[in-house]
């Protein structure tokens, strides 16, 4: 069995964070979670080399998702790690901004079933 792919979930809502962690781990991924933007950046710094995907919320304490994304895309080691924005904020300007900075997708959390998300993660990291 190959080494588990590492997914970083940056999500301030513990329930959702746990849910995603649960289904992803069941699907065979190693999951790192951060509850704030700041801790998200710390984890990216720490694990950049082995991260396969970052699932990033927008509305975050300390630093918001856009800031985290900007930082990540500006970081030499982390810039190639694909980032999917997972947010319930559905403002077009934010979506555009995120995509412009480098997020590969912008998914409304509400609209995606946890299993559909797992499928999406599998697709992205394969």
């Amino acid at each position: 069995m190959s080494e588990k792919k590492v997914i970083l979930v940056v999500e301030d809502d513990v329930a959702i964070s746990d849910l995603y962690a649960h289904v992803l781990r069941n699907a065979g991924f190693e999951v790192l979670t951060a509850l704030t933007g700041g801790s998200g950046i710390e984890l990216i710094k720490e694990h950049a080399a082995r991260l396969s995907l970052i699932l990033l919320d927008i509305m975050l304490p300390e630093k918001n998702g856009i800031e985290v994304l900007q930082w990540a895309k500006g970081d030499e080691r982390a810039k190639d790690v694909p980032v999917i924005i997972l947010s319930n904020l559905a403002q077009d300007n934010v979506i555009d901004q995120a995509k412009k900075i480098g997020a590969i997708d912008y998914i409304i959390k509400m609209k995606i079933d946890p299993y559909a998300l797992v499928e999406k993660v599998k697709q992205t990291t394969s």
């Binding site: 809502d13 329930a15 959702i16 849910l19 995603y20 649960h22 289904v23 509305m59 319930n88 904020l89 559905a90 403002q91 077009d92 300007n93 409304i108 959390k109 509400m110 609209k111 079933d113 946890p114 299993y115």
Partner: protein
């Protein structure tokens, strides 16, 4: 100043006088001249008559005296040459003729043989020798003619003259006949002269008769002798015996008389002259000649005397004439004022009307044309007053209306701008001034495009779009509305407004092309933004727990499906459906807020529509099956062109329509989705066999929060936002959405999408 320029008041009397008085003057002058001439003619005749009478008187006096001398020289006493007899004879002769003062008989030698005097005082004792006297000389030697001496006067002023004749023999007496008949009074006997008979005669009686003639004829008749001495002058003895030039002023009259004294020719002309008389008065005069004595007779009468009666009549006429003229003037003044008074009243009335006293009326009661004129005038004044009052009333009304209108426009909370045909601003109310921070006086008359512009999402709305210059004057009412557009004034003031543009009827008459009503929505927009922000935030905050619930439910079902009873599974699935509904609700709210905010964007790209329809229909099959409704898609046989759509957004529309159809169709019903290509659009129909929609609900079907009440109520769900959002999305694709429905039969919802070129 010509007559025509005078006032009637003067003109009328003048005409009157000219007409009535002028002929009178002419007649008077004519009459005066004629009567004067007649008087002069009469007087001239009288003058001539008197002169001939006087001539005759004098001639006959002297002729008589000579003849009586001659007759006595031929009496028997003289023939007998008896001195006694002759003395007796001569004495008788003296007694017979009272004029004779003395008588003498002179012999051929000049000796006075007999002398008889009336006074008998100067009788000489011895016979006088009279051989040297003129009487003897002229009668005996100078042809034997008769002799008349010059006049001489005694101390009492009595005039005398001496007359002598030669005495001849009876044989030669036949010559007597010639003597008596000769008007010249010449007595020239040819025979032997026997002696001389001489007498001194008083001219007293002659003078009296001439005086009487003067008196009777009321003329001055005076006699002058051949030396220019005045012999008789009636009523004035002072002139007697004096030379004419001594007693009278030298005048043309006298000059004439004195110069023609000896001129037989001239003296015999008995014409009447008009000269200055001896007193320097203008007089009529004539003169005669006494051939026996070579005397002159002058008769004259001053013109003033003969014309005095005529002059008096003339004076009387003049007085009458003046009285008449004054009467005429007074009469004409009174008549003219009678005529003019109504005219003056009219004039006064006219000037009062002109001064604005429209109540002026004229009370002329002359019963003639002037009264009817004044009646017409009064009628005119009445009509004028009525019209004026009406005008006043109208003006007040108009003013009131205008004030009302101005107040209304000024007080309107919204900005009102009126634009004329030349795109210039004609009205700019207070609200506008406040909104744009501009003063109306700096923008009125300016082209509107230089003052302000409207833009919708940064694209300028051209003037022609919101105020098209359609020349169809029938077009009126609201012609353009656009909410939420940006108004930029030239002074840099920006604000968001709702613009409503209207055209009015008869715009040409008021020169208003368009009326722009500007409703400031900046504040509303702020509020709306806050609301939308809140909705957006709320929706977001709602999503988080919803995400958890639906996620955990999903995982729970997935991981525990085998352990749950059927009931348990059913319960969980109920929870899942409710969660999904709640999610859809939140989703719709968010969409509405985006639509309202104008922040919903569609990214239209050419897309194959058929597979999308197929996919959506397939994804909804399980819901239709759940409800035992047959959902079918009948793809067209021919290939369909691509449409320009935002795939995600337009999918929502179709999903929504099919979901609604499932919701409102009873089990056993059919839902058919079909496509149709028409007029450059691809039209999608969703036909159901549901309950249908009441007609009165149709117009409101696509409005926000509208829900059909009544029959549909029991089975209905949802927020009333789905169709509103669908409509917004379709219209963002430049398509249209519509519905055809019959209650109890079902509905067909359709929307069109533009085919991509």
């Amino acid at each position: 100043m010509s007559l025509s320029k005078w006032k009637l008041k003067i003109k009328l009397p003048v005409y009157f006088i000219l007409i009535s008085v002028l002929p009178l003057i002419l007649i008077n002058v004519l009459w005066f001249n004629t009567s004067q001439k007649a008087v002069i003619d009469t007087t001239s005749d009288r003058l001539r008559t008197i002169v001939s009478k006087a001539e005759h008187e004098l001639e006959s006096f002297f002729t008589t005296k000579q003849i009586s001398l001659i007759i006595h020289s031929q009496t028997e006493a003289f023939l007998s040459k008896n001195l006694e007899k002759m003395n007796t004879e001569l004495t008788n002769f003296l007694l017979q003729d009272e004029d004779i003062r003395e008588l003498s008989l002179i012999d051929t030698n000049g000796k006075e043989l007999l002398y008889i005097s009336r006074d008998k005082v100067d009788r000489p004792d011895a016979p006088r020798d009279l051989s040297n006297s003129d009487a003897y000389k002229i009668t005996t030697f100078v042809g034997g003619s008769r002799y008349i001496s010059e006049v001489f006067w005694d101390d009492d002023g009595i005039a005398y003259t001496e007359i002598a004749i030669p005495i001849i023999s009876p044989d030669d007496a036949q010559n007597l006949q010639s003597l008596t008949t000769s008007s010249q009074g010449d007595y020239r006997p040819s025979g032997e002269i026997l002696g001389v008979l001489r007498e001194v005669v008083s001219l007293r009686s002659l003078q009296l008769s001439i005086d009487e003639l003067s008196k009777q004829a009321q003329l001055t008749v005076y006699i002058v002798d051949d030396k220019g001495r005045v012999l008789f002058y009636p009523g004035n003895n002072n002139f007697i015996a004096s030379s004419l030039s001594e007693v009278f002023e030298v005048s043309s009259f006298l000059f004439f008389v004195t110069n023609t004294r000896f001129d037989q020719h001239r003296v015999e002309e008995k014409g009447v002259n008009r000269n200055l008389n001896e007193f320097g008065e203008l007089a009529l005069s004539t003169h005669g000649h006494v051939s026996v004595t070579n005397w002159g007779i002058v008769t004259q009468v001053p013109l003033t005397q003969i014309l005095s009666s005529t002059n008096q009549i003339g004076l009387l006429i003049l007085v009458l004439f003046i009285i008449f003229t004054i009467s005429v003037i007074l009469l004409s003044l009174s008549i003219s004022s009678q005529i003019l008074r109504p005219i003056e009243l009219l004039q006064l009335g006219t000037s009062r009307i002109r001064a604005g006293e429209l109540d002026t009326r004229i009370g002329v009661k002359t019963g003639d044309e002037i009264e009817s004129l004044s009646n017409s005038f009064n009628d005119m004044a009445t009509a004028l007053k009525t019209a004026f009052d009406k005008l006043e009333e109208d003006r007040d009304l108009i003013t009131t209306e205008r004030n009302k209108l101005e107040t209304v426009i000024a007080e309107i909370e919204d900005g009102v701008i009126a634009i004329d045909k030349n795109k210039k601003i004609t009205i700019f109310n207070q609200a506008c001034e406040k909104l744009l921070r501009l003063q109306s006086n700096e923008v009125i008359g300016q082209p509107v495009e230089q003052i302000l512009s409207f833009s919708d999402n940064d694209s300028l709305i051209p003037f022609e779009e919101y105020c098209p210059s359609t020349d169809s004057s029938v077009e009126q009412g609201v012609i353009f509305t656009k909410p939420n557009i940006k108004l930029s004034a030239y002074n840099g003031q920006d604000l968001y407004v709702n613009l409503v543009v209207a055209k009015i009827k008869d715009q040409a008459n008021v020169n208003i092309h368009c009326i722009l009503t500007i409703h400031d929505v900046s504040k509303e927009r702020e509020l709306e933004d806050m609301k939308l922000d809140f909705v957006s935030m709320a929706a977001h905050e709602l999503r988080t727990p919803l995400t958890s619930i639906s996620g955990y439910l999903s995982v729970f079902m997935n991981e525990n499906a085998s352990k749950l009873t059927d009931d348990q599974q059913f319960f969980v699935s109920r929870a899942q459906i409710a969660t999904q509904q709640l999610g859809a609700l939140v989703e719709n709210l968010l969409n509405v807020s985006k639509i309202e905010r104008g922040s919903m964007e569609v990214e239209s790209i050419p897309t194959d529509w058929l597979p999308i329809v197929d996919q959506i229909v397939t994804s909804l099959h399980y819901r239709a099956n759940d409800k035992h409704v047959k959902l079918a898609f009948t793809p067209p046989s021919n290939p369909m062109p691509k449409v320009k759509v935002d795939r995600l957004r337009i999918s929502e529309v179709l999903s929504n329509l099919i979901s609604n159809a499932i919701t409102y169709t009873k089990p056993g019903g059919n839902i058919i989705v079909s496509l149709e290509q028409r007029d450059g659009f691809l039209i999608t129909h969703v036909k159901d066999t549901g309950q249908g929609i009441p007609k009165d609900a149709l117009p409101h079907l696509f409005t926000k929060f509208f829900r059909v009440s009544g029959v549909l109520e029991q089975g209905s769900k949802g927020t009333g936002l789905g169709l509103y959002i669908s409509k917004a999305i379709v219209e963002m694709h430049n398509g249209k959405i519509w519905v055809e429905s019959e209650l109890g039969q079902g509905s067909i919802f359709s929307f069109s999408l533009p085919i991509s070129d």
